[in-house]
Amino acid sequence: MQRPVANGGGRRRSLTRTLAVVPGALLLAACSSTLPQSSLNPKSAEARQIDDLWILVLVIATIVFVIVEAALVFAIFRFRKRKDDDREPKQIHGNTALEIVWSIIPAVILAAVAVPTLQTLFDLRSPAEGDVVNVNVTGHQWWWEFEYPDILDDQGRPLTTANELHLPVGKTAELKMTSADVIHSFWVPPLGGKRDLVPGRETFIKITPDADRAGEQIPGQCAEFCWLSHADMRMLVFLQTESDFAAWAASQTQPADIPTDGLAASGYETFTAVCAACHQAVVAGPGGTVSVVGEALAPDLTHFGSRSTLGARVASNTAEHLAQWIDNPSDFKAMAPDLNDFGTGRILGMPDYGLGDDEIAGLVALLEGWK
């Protein structure tokens, strides 16, 4: 089922879709939505396939619901005890023919639903073909790591970013996913169903964003309970035209400059002394020598200033928020840094290092400058 899509706010619906929403207002609410994180607001080919199937099942379920509940309500009113009737009811024990009928009808309906279900299922689970954007996704408590294995910088390192996924529209992206710690689940409802990230396993999901959705930012979040900050393990997907995506990728594969003077320079000292224990950045020195500083246990900060949110979408990325975050990370988001164990690589949050105001100001200047 292909649905014509128009630009802007209002979307035209095909006749089948119009018929589908007839049964009632409730159905309407369960049928379509303009909310940003709604599964009823599909913006990719895969999400639309699922949505079409959902609408079909919803319509059938609603019809069954109406018939069964109507029979129930009718029986209650029609057969309730009346004052003027003192006769006892007929003692009917059953009817085998009826039993067979009402066993077969549901079975037939279900068989009919099973056909498109299986078609869609195998379609969605088939590997992506053609010109595919590959992304490796790693779930961490409580942030997302995105790596583009085919987009390399000059030293051959793949583009790595956190919590904000950029995808070109009209092309299929294939996400290869795993987890660094516990099970997470990747879920951006307008772009498709969710898929778990299981440690020790690889799972895949395909996303083909609609061509007319360039410029949209689509929220998503972790859907498998992963302890303390599960609620705040969010992300944002940026849909871009192919040229915008290429420009973004080109800028993201540049190293960040090591500042030589001012606040940012002192911030860099703090960064290497404190932050680099967990965070990584690809930096270029004054002579143009590129190196990697820090450990990759927490989000890569090379282009932190270019992101629009921080802390896995718990706040917008402003200097003020960043200063507050560094000052006391657990104010923004529940974490358990006292349980961090570098020996086993178990990182459960960013500690409060008790940095002074000057140090924080330096770090803010540094990181917000790393566009």
Binding site: A29, S33, L35, P36, S39, L40, I50, W54, V57, A61, F65, V68, E69, L72, I76, F79, R80, K81, R87, E88, P89, K90, Q91, G94, N95, L98, P106, A107, L110, V113, A114, T117, L118, L121, F122, D181, V182, I183, S185, P189, G193, R195, D196, V198, R201, E202, T203, A223, E224, F225, W227, L228, H230, A231, D232, R234, R313, A334, L339, R346
Partner: protein
């Protein structure tokens, strides 16, 4: 029907006074009452947890609870409601009603029955005490590995691993007991196909528990050993597989859903015919569809794992078995409606709750079918849509059925009628509150709200329906207060019920209300399904029921037992053994704290041995004094 007291034939005078008589009781009816009271008390705990959760979620970025507190509360809400409310309320009815429904004097193993109760009670108390002792389990009631084995510095999931293990042992003990009771202790003539549907569904439930609990038992041991003894069952870095837990959990967890709802279906299948004044439509189909649900229930577990990456073939298979299970479920619903059809309905409180059960269960069933649509399920899975679905099944379904059972059978238990006016208030408040709470959650889930999140940001459109759900949850709480008030006032203020207040159909209504210790003075000989009805009514040429002439009975109507009535003697060893076992378990929970844990284990083992040896060495029936 006159009831003659035959306690003089009992050979002993049952001691029915004081706390001691309750502690040592092996009477299935008293154990049933204890289960019911416990379930009611724990429903207040679970309900309070739910209200805190709903208060936190009433608006965006809630600050009532911390993430940590919220995680403990929603985990304990699930564990409490499943293991400490719905399962024990089912056990309450099964304990009290099965022997009465099949014409037995007690369950097969009265002391094992008492042991199961005390084990259940102490285990739940241990689990609940975790709030005050180191923090409660906070890894969700599903306890998914490897999260549950990740942070072992906390004792929290040890409470879960041991607590659920012990509750499982209690359930296995009582299930084996019920099966043996139903298989070997039926009244003369009570063939399997003359058993009341509630007893039938309880039998199916017992089999499900017997076969599914050991599977999660294995998983719980693996979790416990991973946490405490360095095993690597779920350690991904050492090629262990966290998905193994999900398989073991759901091989138990899905049949468990039917464990929670089948007894309720049985209750509804008793109430609808009684108040329609017609036999249950298609009795054998209702029974066999229950058995079919039980069988199929073991073949659908992986539909809880459609997002885990099992591969499309497995997903397709489990999707289809999940669709299949809708067929016997549908058969049940159609038969219930057909039972109402052409009847003469009395719409009193038990009937309202039964009809409410059907209406709500249809919604829960249909949303369940949408989970079988695998691609659609990948959007619904782990969202509020699923939360809505299983509350429609477990509250709108199971809980409504059990409440119907309370209104229906409490007159038998107490000899007093519940207040109808309060009952109707309870029903309508609960019906309204329930739909207001859980109806909107369908929409929340579809609109992208994941479950188990302690807060949600502004701007995603979750505010309105969450607010409605919170209002609804307080209406449910209000309705439960009405209910509890109604139950509490009944023994003092209720109108006398008599033996058979509903003009009912099954033989539990042939004995006194409340029944004597030995249940029946004379055990009835059973010639029909709905034996009592057939002792009261025949049919005319049109097939309508007509009262039989007074004093008409098919002889022999009752059986005289040759050896007189033997009732088991009270014993306190079952409680001792249960206490020892839970102490031993608590020692395991505190294993990592060294001497405290080991000490508790040693003491617990000692008490357990005392209980077991005392129990084994004690004759079932003491000599008459």
């Amino acid at each position: 029907m006159a009831v003659t007291t035959r306690t003089e034939d009992l050979g002993y005078t049952p001691n029915t006074d004081g706390v001691w008589s309750w502690i040592t009781t092996v009477d299935h009816k008293r154990i049933g009452i204890m289960y019911a009271v416990s379930a009611l008390v724990f429903s207040l705990v679970g309900g309070l947890e739910a209200l805190l959760i709903r208060t936190q979620l009433a608006g965006p970025n809630g600050t009532v609870l911390s993430a940590d507190a919220y995680n403990q509360l929603f985990t304990m809400h699930g564990i409490t409601m499943v293991f400490a409310v719905i399962m024990p309320i089912a056990a309450a009815f099964q304990n009290y009603m099965i022997p009465l429904q099949i014409g037995a004097r007690d369950v097969a193993f009265p002391r094992l029955n008492a042991f199961a109760y005390w084990l259940f009670l102490f285990s739940v108390l241990m689990l609940t005490s975790s709030f005050f002792l180191g923090g409660s389990p906070d890894g969700a009631w599903t306890g998914y590995a490897n999260l549950s084995t990740q942070v072992t510095e906390y004792v929290r999931m040890d409470y879960y691993a041991i607590g659920v293990q012990l509750l499982g042992i209690a359930s296995i003990a009582s299930s084996a007991n019920f099966i043996a009771t139903i298989f070997t202790m039926r009244a003369p003539g009570m063939t399997m196909m003359r058993m009341p549907v509630f007893t039938w569904m309880s039998l199916v439930t017992s089999f499900l528990l017997i076969l599914s609990l050991p599977v999660i038992g294995v998983g719980l041991w693996q979790m416990f050993f991973d946490r405490n003894f360095g095993t690597l069952f779920y350690a991904a870095q050492a090629s262990g597989d966290p998905l193994l837990w999900q398989h073991l959990f759901w091989v138990f967890g899905h049949p468990e859903v039917y464990v929670l709802v089948l007894p309720s279906m049985g209750i509804v299948s008793e109430i609808l015919p009684t108040f329609s004044r017609k036999p249950l439509f298609g009795y054998s189909f209702v029974v066999f569809s229950g058995i079919a649900i039980g069988f199929l229930g073991f073949g659908v577990w992986a539909h809880h794992m459609f997002t885990a990456g099992l591969g499309p073939v497995a997903e397709a298979g489990f999707g289809i078995t999940t669709m299949l299970i809708a067929v016997p479920t549908g058969v049940k619903i159609f038969n219930w409606i057909a039972t109402l059809w052409g009847g003469k309905l009395t719409l009193n409180t038990p009937m309202l709750f039964s009809i409410g059960f059907i209406a709500m269960f249809v919604i829960g069933g249909l949303s369940g079918v949408t989970h079988a649509i695998v691609p659609a399920d990948t959007q619904q899975h782990d969202t509020y849509y699923v939360v809505a679905h299983f509350h429609y099944v477990l509250v709108g379904g199971a809980a409504f059925g059990f409440i119907a059972g309370v209104y229906y059978w409490l007159p038998k238990w107490t000899g007093k009628m519940l207040n109808e006016k309060l009952g109707k208030w309870h029903f309508w408040l609960m019906f309204l509150g329930f739909n207001l709470t859980f109806g909107p959650m369908h929409i929340l889930g579809l609109n992208g709200m994941p479950r188990r999140t302690y807060r949600y940001p502004e701007g995603l459109g979750f505010e309105f329906w969450n607010g409605m759900a919170t209002i609804g949850s307080f209406i449910i709480a209000l309705s439960m207060l009405v209910f509890i008030w109604n139950v509490i006032r009944t023994p003092r203020k209720g109108l006398p019920a008599g033996d058979d207040p509903w003009d009912a159909r099954t033989i539990e209504w042939m004995t006194a209300s409340p029944p004597a210790v030995h249940n029946f003075d004379r055990v009835p000989v059973v010639r029909h399904l709905d034996e009592l009805w057939h002792r009261k009514y025949g049919v005319d040429e049109e097939g309508r029921a007509v009262p039989l002439p007074d004093g008409y009975v098919e002889e022999p109507a009752f059986i005289e037992e040759p050896g007189g009535i033997h009732m088991p003697s009270p014993s306190f060893y079952p409680m001792i053994a249960a206490f020892g076992l839970v102490t031993l378990g608590a020692g395991l929970v505190f294993w990592s704290s060294g001497i405290l844990g080991v000490g508790m284990m040693v003491i617990g083992a000692g008490i357990l041995m005392w209980g077991v040896f005392g129990w084994a060495g004690e004759p079932i029936t003491r000599e008459a004094h």
